[in-house]
């Protein structure tokens, strides 16, 4: 169970998140929609302690985490994995070592299990056989999928996806969406997906949250949101219905 209570984040004189509150249950797939620059990435980064909020609380499984020390956050990061908006791969490591990075440090698995996990994770994103390549040798879409595999390989209880399908072709986009659904169904993984893609939000989300200028302007199940009267939501929907 994850809950945000009145979260506020400020950069200098600009308040990016102006009191955001919502909760998400285990196994749920929550989509966060919103225009560029409303603070979606900032919201996710606050959850894993890459940024600290200036106000409000974050609760993960009954613990208020926003004032945790960096060491205590290791515990949170074992539970909550994040896929970044950019591929964020380590250029001087092979794809294999990129994916093994977290498995070696967070999970401290033996090497033969790591090999198994890497193979499995790459299979899940339809990328078998690139283990020995370096990230700059891969296309952007492939890098993005490796990055997805790197986090999924850790099998965290909660997965945060920051625009996982932006820049991917339709076929791979479907595969990624299926992967998110599968993880939720099989492993009871909770997912928070930041996306611009109303279409896939409507098809795989349990709940959708619409963020505008640092505030939640609407939320509900896909069915509820289709009937929304909020202008921004109608704009998002217009594209799908057209």
């Amino acid at each position: 169970m994850i809950e945000f209570k009145n979260l506020v984040k400020t950069f200098g004189t600009r308040t990016v998140l102006k009191g955001v509150s919502f909760a998400i249950a285990q196994g749920e797939i929550l989509f966060i929609l919103g225009t560029s620059g409303t603070g979606k990435s900032v919201l996710l980064k606050n959850l894993v302690g890459l940024m600290r909020p200036d106000g409000g609380e974050i609760w993960i499984d009954g613990e208020e985490t926003s004032r945790f020390s960096e060491d205590e956050y290791l515990r949170v990061r074992r539970k909550v994995g994040m896929v970044f908006q950019q591929p964020a791969l380590f250029d001087s490591f092979t794809v294999f070592d990129n994916i093994a990075f977290g498995l070696r440090r967070l999970e401290k698995l033996p090497e033969d299990q790591i090999r198994e996990r890497v193979r499995e994770a790459l299979g899940a994103v339809h990328l078998a056989g690139v283990e020995e390549k370096y990230p700059p040798q891969l296309s952007y879409g492939m890098q993005k999928r490796v990055s997805l595999a790197r986090t999924v390989a850790l099998r965290p209880q909660v997965l945060l996806f920051d625009e996982p399908t932006t820049g991917l072709d339709p076929v791979t986009t479907t595969a990624v969406n299926q992967l998110i659904q599968e993880l939720s169904r099989k492993l009871k993984t909770t997912s928070i997906v930041v996306s611009h893609d109303m279409n896939c939000a409507l098809s795989i989300a349990d709940r959708i949250l619409v963020l505008d200028q640092g505030q939640i302007v609407d939320q509900g199940t896909p069915g509820e949101l289709k009937k929304s009267q909020v202008p921004l939501v109608r704009d998002f929907l217009a594209e799908v219905l057209a």
Binding site: K45, R78, M82, F101, G102
Partner: protein, 259 residues
């Protein structure tokens, strides 16, 4: 004006705190040896040719400068000793620092800045590692340690340069050039040079890792970080040169006097 002053103070404060963090990481959870040796090797290889060449010409320049004046006093026998002493005490460390700041400093801040703005540093933290321990510390130590190798190399090359120039320009043969080096280049001079080299390397390593680590705002931000690294290291190195010049002199005297 107040804005400039306050941003300067924030910068200095940030740098000092960052240095403190690096030291704490060094004591609590040092980086892996492989990473450290890897960085020492990289930095040394990157700068070995420029430092060697610069050292050679500095030796040559110092010799020409001293020769012009010493000829009048008929003291050409001391040429090698004086030129080397000046290089050890002052020009060598300063030169190595400038070379390193242009090459390794810029490279390091660009590399770390890129890692920052492409979310790689965030990713490192999320995957259970400490970027200070795995990224910053090896680079920091790499610069500090390899600066000693480079200083030694620069000095040896400067003696070569001086010897050749002394022979060509002032008619001082090699043996004569070398004879007074041990008498004039004393232990305090050498210690002075080593202390300076160490301080400059610390300053450079702190600034370039700090600027890279705290870069923001995409490719442009990385560019700005690199420029700021170059400017602030040059300025800081000169300031610290002035500081260490008499501080190290006093310390060396006290230490030697106490023995």
């Amino acid at each position: 004006m107040t804005k400039v002053a306050s941003s300067l103070l924030t910068d200095i404060g940030g740098c000092v705190l960052f240095f403190k963090d690096i030291m704490r990481t060094l004591i609590r959870k040092p980086c892996r040896r492989v990473d450290f040796f890897d960085q020492v090797w990289k930095v040394t290889v990157q700068s070995v040719s420029t430092t060697g060449m610069a050292g050679f010409f500095v030796g040559a320049i110092m010799t020409v400068q001293f020769a012009l004046q010493m000829k009048e006093f008929g003291a050409l026998g001391f040429l090698g000793g004086l030129a080397t002493s000046a290089t050890v005490r002052e020009v060598g460390p300063l030169l190595i620092a400038f070379m390193l700041s242009g090459k390794v400093g810029a490279f390091t801040s660009a590399e770390l800045g890129t890692m920052r703005v492409t979310e790689q540093i965030d990713a490192i933290r999320c995957l259970g590692a400490d970027p200070l321990q795995e990224m910053i510390l090896p680079r920091f130590l790499g610069i500090v340690v390899s600066s000693f190798f480079l200083l030694t190399l620069g000095l040896i090359m400067s003696i070569f340069g001086g010897m050749i120039m002394g022979a060509a320009f002032a008619g001082v043969n090699f043996e004569e050039y070398l004879r007074h080096i041990p008498t004039i280049v004393t232990l305090p001079s050498v210690l002075n040079g080593i202390v300076k080299c160490f301080v400059f390397a610390l300053v450079l390593a702190t600034i370039c890792t700090y600027k890279g680590f705290t870069a923001t705002g995409g490719a442009k931000g990385v560019g700005q970080a690199v420029v700021k690294t170059a400017v602030s290291t040059m300025v800081c190195i000169v300031i610290f040169d002035w500081l260490t010049s008499f501080l190290s002199d006093i310390t060396v005297r006290v230490v030697l006097g106490a023995q």
